[in-house]
Subunit: 143 residues, 4 copies
């Protein structure tokens, strides 16, 4: 399945479920996955050498303009996930393909696509600075 | 635009932004919109006479299996939103069409589609009980 | 009991529990009460004519330096609370006495004391501006 | 200072600030520290061999009945903290002394005292089961 194609992933982060993230069903609340996905993107950016904090200081604001999440199976107390991503450029947008796996079983937990645009000095930009930082990763993704 | 077609809405909830929902950009964090959307669905269900709490007690667990959100403009401190929805049935799924508007300006804030399935006693169900409660609303939606 | 002395309250806000605030015990998570308390203080400030957003724009940053919360009884899905406060000055600190009640029964849910100091231009201030806005309320509190 | 006496600590957990935990001041929101403190207690319990999930399955519900937090300095994006605790018994209560340090500088971030009681089958208990698990740690704490 394309969305879980292991060859394309550029980055992986292990995250352990925290009990305060559970809802009254005893499973991780749906909204929390957006936190996991954001955390993974931010850690990826830090790993490329350009943290969100630095982006802000340089006047670059990455903005999520669309998100799609398919929920495959829930996570519960004590679970560890592997949160993986690869990135694709489409015009002015960066599409983050993000999949989360239940580490112990390898089961898919969520498949997500997150579309990001960049604001520079308040205006939509081509994201050249981000592109520059992501280039080695984007080229890998094309192969 | 279809997704903001006022005629179809079955339910509307005013929600005021709370300052702890803002992120370091001073705007409502993306993940918080899932909270707003969930709150709106739960209040809608309560209004139909069948709250989530009652569903749980009857062994019916509505589960989000897919969500799509388009982010159109941000909300800031003090903003009030109108969170509206209509519902559509597709096989075993209920599709909640949910749009959030900036109340003062009428601007679209987010357009979302949330797909829900029902578990009864742990198994996927046709959601007959929910269907029964939603029927007057679903029939309105068809017209 | 002093901490629930109805005569002293300057402000009251009704807040309804949202299902995403429940934890896996089916009760509101302890940390969420800090959100309720902050929301109540911010709405109080807005009611006095000086919102947190305006404070920030004027370079005044109110900072919580100590919090004490006694948890008396839990809140569950569907509950409505009355969140009340009165304010006391002690040197450079404003002490917010905040109590939350279960609306239907009148039961005490939490008793809290929140100590606030003001930073102006990054330095500890006597909070004169805040004092000015709070004066009518502070004088009432003394009686 | 007693509250930061390194000899007494039984457990330490490194936690990295996540960007979604920041508020509009760009610092970690006050309520989030309760999450950090809870996370640290739960990880401590897991380390003693008795996770919160297992407690629940055995009908033991630890309940926070009082919390005191002194906020010393804020945390910002990218910061790593050391979250430490020691435990003391007082009658039916377990008092968790929890201190969080800014890892890079050693600065105190918060000092907290969290009082816990145990419900067994819905009634207040002496917490014998917890006591049994905590005993090696409690004895260390006395020395």
């Amino acid at each position: 399945m394309d969305s879980t194609n292991n060859n394309k992933y550029l980055f992986s982060l292990d995250i352990k479920v925290r009990d305060y993230e559970l809802d009254s069903e005893g499973i991780v609340n749906n909204a929390i996955y957006q936190h996991y996905l954001e955390l993974t993107r931010h850690e990826f950016c830090t790993a490329t050498g350009f943290s969100f904090d630095e982006m802000r200081r340089e006047g670059i604001i990455p903005v999520v303009n669309r998100i799609e999440i398919d929920y495959r199976r829930p996570l519960v107390s004590g679970d560890v996930m592997e949160s993986k991503l690869w990135v694709e450029e489409r015009g002015v947008r960066f599409i983050f393909h993000q999949d989360i796996f239940h580490k112990a079983s390898g089961d898919v937990v969520v498949n997500a696509k997150v579309s990001i645009v960049c604001l520079e000095d308040g205006k939509l930009s081509r994201g050249e600075r981000l592109h520059e930082y992501f280039r080695p990763f984007l080229e890998t993704a094309k192969q």
